[in-house]
């Protein structure tokens, strides 16, 4: 491990890679502040740039920097104008915005920056300690278990979608899997489901799909509902009271400690991710706070701001554990990162630490570096950062749309792709109207070919479907997947029945 850390230090501290971290953090922070461009959209915009670098560690470091920057940038807009650009910073606006309204915007941004830094750094330490252990466990996995594990991951994503949403999330996952079967895969050398259309021969473009599912619906929503972009509130806020007092620092320190660990653990679970970590962190801290402080929550409590901020950053780091060690993305963002890695000819998974230790450790070391640089960049920049928010939406929205078009065009160099993007963007918007979660579709799409590969390999090895029963672990994982899917709706049913007084007791 020590040797690996040294390799990582050597890689991460090269001039290019430090520039990548700084550049990534800056780009992420500034674009992340714009409502409508979350980490997923920004990373998908940056992928062509990262891939053209050619060096996988530099590319991954750049994208990781963008990721942290975007999460912090999202908090900025949710604190200053109550316009969370990212789902995971919605909880930050509960207490951050009241603080800003009370003229303590500077203090709120400082608390956010410090909590993010602490959350990210603690997360990186935990990642360093636990990722190798997880990876060595993962080496015991055969393709049958991989198949089962991916099924578990996909069902977990659906299961964490919330009550009443499991079916929809599952349907979206299946949609993604079905879309992944379109085109000519490496497995069979024959085109499938292309309908004879030449442009579908190579399947759907991954960047096109990512743009159509995330950036476009958000942009269309911004057009439909002008109040969403915070246009009326857009006047520049006066920012004063930058410092936090010693007493305040003392009161938020335990919150940050608890939420960093909790956030990390939630981030490790596939499908949970930063959004759930931030909401859960907020809820837990509100519940365990003393009575008098509890009332402050929602009205401008710094504890209420520190909790989601440290939790979401720790969760971001945590979500790298399944990505780097198992090759399973736990969230839409890490799914996009996985796509980028595959494009760079790196296959994440248990072998990554053995085959490419420099990539693995460079990423972890760059996490510290990224967090530190974010803090250094952001504290003095806070007053200026707010200015970017005043880009008028009349300019902002055409630019968002233009960047989605560019992303799709650069990815495939094909004008048909732009029509596909527009069409799928409309479909994705309609799906959002109906409250269908879109991230599972993308995760399903990206995992689809891997899932089928592992399925096919196990079928070939066992000469039939018997592989499910060959090893207890495969069967156990598949049973777990079924339980994960059924449990939430069963519990919701029971809770409802109990509320109606139909069923009593346990």
């Amino acid at each position: 491990m020590l040797e690996g850390i040294l390799i990582g230090l050597g890689t991460a501290f090269s001039i290019t890679n430090i520039l990548m971290v700084v550049g990534g953090c800056l780009i992420g922070t500034f674009i992340g502040m714009l409502p409508g461009l979350g980490p997923m959209s920004i990373i998908s915009i940056m992928i062509p740039v990262a891939i053209s670098l050619g060096d996988p560690s530099a590319a991954l470091i750049l994208l990781a920097g963008v990721y942290y920057g975007a999460i912090f940038g999202g908090s900025t807009s949710s604190i200053l104008i109550n316009a969370p650009g990212v789902a995971s910073t919605v909880a930050s606006s509960f207490d951050g915005y009241p603080l800003a309204r009370a003229g303590k915007a500077g203090k709120a941004l400082t608390v956010a920056a410090i909590s993010s830094f602490a959350g990210g750094s603690i997360g990186a330490i935990l990642l360093m300690i636990f990722a190798p252990a997880l990876a060595s466990v993962a080496l015991l996995f055969h393709s049958a278990e991989y198949f089962a594990l991916m099924v578990v991951g996909l069902s977990a994503i659906a299961a964490f979608a919330g009550s009443g949403q499991v079916g929809k999330a599952l349907l979206m996952t299946l949609l993604g899997l079905i879309m992944a079967t379109v085109g000519e895969g490496a497995l069979f050398n024959m085109p499938r489901f292309t309908g004879g259309i030449q442009d579908l021969q190579s399947g759907f473009g991954f960047i096109t799909l990512a743009m159509a599912m995330f950036a476009m619906p958000e942009a269309i929503f911004l057009v439909l509902d002008p109040s969403r972009s915070g246009g009326e509130d857009g006047k520049s806020q006066e920012i004063k009271e930058l410092r936090i007092t010693k007493a305040e620092a003392k009161s938020i320190a335990p919150v940050i400690g608890r939420q960093s660990i909790q956030g990390f653990l939630i981030g490790v679970l596939p499908g949970a991710g930063a959004t759930i970590a931030s909401f859960l962190g907020y809820a837990v801290e509100r519940n365990i706070a003393p009575k008098d402080e509890q009332e402050q929550f929602g009205k401008g409590s710094i504890k209420g701001l520190a909790a989601p901020e440290s939790a979401n950053n720790a969760a971001c780091t945590g979500s790298f554990v399944p990505l780097l060690t198992l090759g399973i993305p736990g969230s839409g963002t890490t799914a996009i990162l996985l796509g980028a890695l595959i494009a760079l000819n790196v296959s994440p998974g248990p072998r990554l630490m053995i085959d490419n230790p420099s990539i693995f450790w460079a990423v972890i070391i760059s996490m510290y570096l990224g967090n530190l640089i974010l803090l250094i960049l952001n504290l003095p920049l806070i007053p200026y950062i707010a200015k970017v928010l005043s880009v008028p939406r009349n300019y902002l929205i055409p630019f968002i749309l233009f960047f989605t078009l560019m992303g799709a065009y650069i990815g495939q160099n094909n004008a048909t792709e732009l029509l596909l993007l527009t069409g799928m963007g409309v479909v994705a918007t309609i799906l959002r109207f109906a409250d269908y979660p879109l991230a599972p579709a993308l995760i399903g799409f990206i995992l689809g070919s891997m899932l089928e590969d592992n399925f096919a390999r196990s079928m070939q090895l066992a000469d039939g479907i018997g592989f499910i029963f060959d090893r207890p672990m495969t069967l156990g994982l598949l049973v777990l997947a079924v339980i994960l899917v059924i449990l939430p709706s069963y519990r919701a049913r029971r809770a409802k029945a109990r509320a109606e007084g139909v069923a009593d007791g346990d």
């Binding site: 053209s52 919330g162 079916g167 349907l171 299946l174 057009v223 630019f399 732009l418």
Partner: protein, 161 residues
């Protein structure tokens, strides 16, 4: 019927068509030597279509009980006409126009037109600023993509280059 169930119904139809292909059409194209394989190109799609039909049926029939309340600040599609629907549709049409114009007219011109028209659709009327911003943005992105990243994009209309 609520929109989410209509979508599930559409998805059900997609799964049926997809499944029909997987079960009855695809295997005929399979060369004989591959028929001894335990897994065929159609195996995985068969499983997917069966699962898809199952899950979309549970939504269409409303089997899963939902105590989910509407998200805050999301768009209510039942009152779509109260929003700026015209602007949204115009922008989408603009994107389609851009897709067709990009190759023949060239990157610089079509991008500038796209950005200016996009702002204009949203109600911006300061033409001078709009044109300057768009020209600079188009030039910068073209320089970045074509010159720095080395991805060819025809900059000018067909009769000039």
């Amino acid at each position: 019927m609520a929109l989410d169930r209509v979508i599930a119904l559409i998805f059900l139809l997609i799964c049926v068509v997809y499944g029909y292909n997987a079960y009855f059409v695809m295997d005929e194209l399979l060369p004989p030597f591959m028929r001894n394989n335990p897994i065929w190109p159609s195996t995985f799609p068969k499983v997917l279509s069966a699962l898809g039909i199952l899950v979309s049926l549970t939504i269409v029939l409303g089997i899963e009980k939902s105590n989910h309340t509407a998200e805050v600040a999301e768009i209510n599609y039942r009152k779509l006409t109260e929003y700026k629907l015209g602007q949204a549709i115009s922008l989408l049409l603009l994107m389609v126009f851009y897709a067709f114009a990009l190759r023949p007219i060239g990157f610089l011109v079509s991008t500038t037109v796209f950005l200016v028209a996009g702002s204009a659709i949203l109600g911006e009327r300061r033409w001078g600023i709009m044109i300057i911003v768009s020209v600079i943005a188009a030039g910068f992105v073209w320089y970045l993509v074509d010159q720095v990243l080395g991805i060819f994009m025809r900059p000018l209309p067909w009769f000039l280059s």
